[in-house]
């Protein structure tokens, strides 16, 4: 052994002790950090359950809001409206977002256009949601001279695109180049390689990105204020103002009536559960058929 590396037994013991202490310290810090994150989350969810659950009944899911002064009523229109608007936003935002991400990762590497798109996506990601609402307002609502569920869907879609684009790009970037080369080397055309090899290999991460974007816009209120507006009546016509859970929660929460406050709590609970259920369903659905073994 190199004589310069020899230490006295005492020093050795001290160092060992220090290593043990710092090991425990770091573990403890990690546990504390996890608790600090978890406690508020669980508290919010618990409070929501406590406040919202008691106001849930069949009418909440089947009836539109009761007129002011009348008891009862529900949020059926807002639940359906949120579903319709989110479906529309996903139908537009997910393919566009993934398409742009595929361009960035597979076709546009190093081009000025890709750099411009990447920069735009990052800026859009940071734009406050109310600005998206105003954008959709001036693009659609002002032109059509009326509010509509369609405009709401567009506003949310615009919000989804940058997140999905960037996650898709990042996830495609983690697919090893040699996997692409394997496909090209078999005489598989590039477009087919992108769809069946790159996207398929990266799909768990891309799906996570889509779910994050979905969950984020599902609770958005501001972009809908200027677009879908809200509606006291049941309707699925995309050309009409449409109710949505966040809008209804907002309207009821700022109202002076206790009954409406209770409904707002219930609405918030339903919104959270809707998001959790849809994310879980997508996870279960996409995990089916996955193979055991391998690095993924």
């Amino acid at each position: 052994m190199n004589p310069l590396l020899v230490r006295s037994e005492n020093t050795e013991r001290m160092l060992n002790l220090r290593r043990k202490i710092s090991n425990h310290l770091v573990t403890a810090l990690a546990v504390v950090a996890t608790l600090v994150v978890l406690v508020p989350l669980i508290a919010i969810l618990g409070y929501l359950l406590y406040k919202g659950f008691s106001s849930l009944n069949l009418a909440f899911f089947t009836k539109p809001p009761a007129p002011v002064g009348e008891e009862g009523g529900g949020m059926a229109n807002a639940i359906v409206g949120s579903g319709v608007i989110l479906a529309l936003a996903s139908a537009m935002g997910i393919p566009l977002g993934i398409g742009a991400g595929v361009y960035l990762a597979e076709y546009g590497r190093g081009t000025w256009l890709a750099t411009a798109i990447r920069f735009t996506a990052d800026v859009l990601n940071g734009v406050p949601s109310i600005v998206m609402g105003i954008a959709a307002y001036s693009l659609i609502v002002a032109k059509q001279h009326h509010f509509s569920g369609f405009a709401g869907g567009v506003a949310l879609a615009i919000m989804m695109v940058p997140t999905i684009t960037r996650t898709t790009e990042e996830m495609l970037g983690t697919v090893p180049q040699m996997v692409r080369e394997a496909a090209l080397g078999l005489g598989i055309p590039k477009w087919r390689t992108v769809i069946s090899i790159s996207l398929r290999t990266a799909s768990p991460g891309i799906i996570t990105g889509c779910m994050l974007a979905f969950a984020r816009v599902a609770g958005e209120t501001a972009p809908l204020l200027f677009t879908a507006l809200g509606n006291q009546f049941f309707g699925v016509n995309l050309n009409q103002p449409m109710a949505a859970l966040p809008l209804q929660i907002f309207a009821y929460a700022v109202s002076p009536y206790d009954e409406w406050h209770r409904l707002a709590w219930a609405g918030a609970l339903v919104l959270i559960v809707m998001i959790m259920v849809s994310v879980t369903l997508v996870r279960i659905f996409t995990a089916r058929g996955a193979l055991k073994g391998g690095q993924h």
Partner: protein, 252 residues
């Protein structure tokens, strides 16, 4: 059946760096041809020019004539068509991680729109048998992912996958360099068997490997083909001083 490859005045670049200089070489059909040389000498670039994989790198470029049988691969056919006829096995095993063993082997056909299950079943079995992997995986074809196999099995899976599209030429870029000696021996046995049906070009760092499997050997140095001759001649009586220095271990 294999087909011969004739290369005339092939030059290749990465960006502004020229990595191959005026390569002229005839690769005979149904024989194994080894390419040896120190790292960075251009042998990998050379084989990638033979199936037009070189050009998948956006900054890469190649000039010259490569003929496979009667066709000029840079003029008479699309890269996709060429790569179907000239298969490739890479240095590191690269099975498709999300696919089962079966789908890995069938991928070349399936992703080119071929769907007849009965024929696919037959091709998968035949290819896995040719790659000496069938006995080890026949019970888990659909259950296991290609990535769950051992390194040596993965490489044979990649060979099976390349054979499944029925190429005429098989390019192997250091196919055994990431494998243990037992797996390497299996791959070498395989090359021996396969050359009755395919023209094989194998890049290798291992000179014993070249001597064991190849009828002809080419020695590359700094992007140039220094010498191309029957393997026995290269290793016993090379014409060029640089070849002799390399094979006797004086540099490289």
């Amino acid at each position: 059946m294999g087909v011969d490859i004739r290369v005339e005045n092939l030059n290749a670049w990465y960006g502004t760096t020229q990595s191959l200089w005026d390569i002229n070489l005839n690769i005979p059909a149904n024989k194994a041809t080894a390419l040896i040389g120190p790292s960075g000498c251009g042998k990998s670039t050379f084989v990638r020019c033979l199936n037009r994989m070189h050009e998948t790198n956006p900054i890469a470029r190649a000039e010259g004539v490569v003929r496979m049988g009667d066709i000029d691969i840079y003029k008479d056919a699309s890269p996709v068509e060429i790569r179907r006829r000239i298969g490739m096995v890479f240095q590191r095993p690269n099975p498709f991680p999300t696919m089962s063993i079966y789908d890995n082997v069938a991928s070349g056909l399936k992703l080119n729109g071929f769907r007849k299950k009965r024929v696919l079943d037959e091709v998968v079995e035949k290819s896995l048998k040719s790659a000496a992997l069938w006995e080890e995986v026949k019970d888990s074809l659909h259950k296991k992912s290609g990535a769950s196999l051992s390194g040596g099995q993965q490489q044979r899976l990649c060979i099976a996958r390349a054979l499944a599209v029925d190429p005429e030429v098989l390019l192997m870029d250091e196919p055994a360099s990431a494998l243990d000696p037992v797996s390497t021996a299996k791959i070498e046995d395989l090359i021996f068997k396969l050359k009755s049906q395919y023209t094989i070009v194998i890049v290798t760092h291992n000179m014993q490997q070249a001597a064991r499997v190849a009828e002809n050997t080419g020695f590359f140095l700094t992007g140039k083909l220094v010498e191309f001759a029957p393997t026995t001649k290269i290793f016993t009586n090379p014409s060029d001083k640089r070849t002799e220095d390399y094979i006797t271990g004086r540099f490289g």
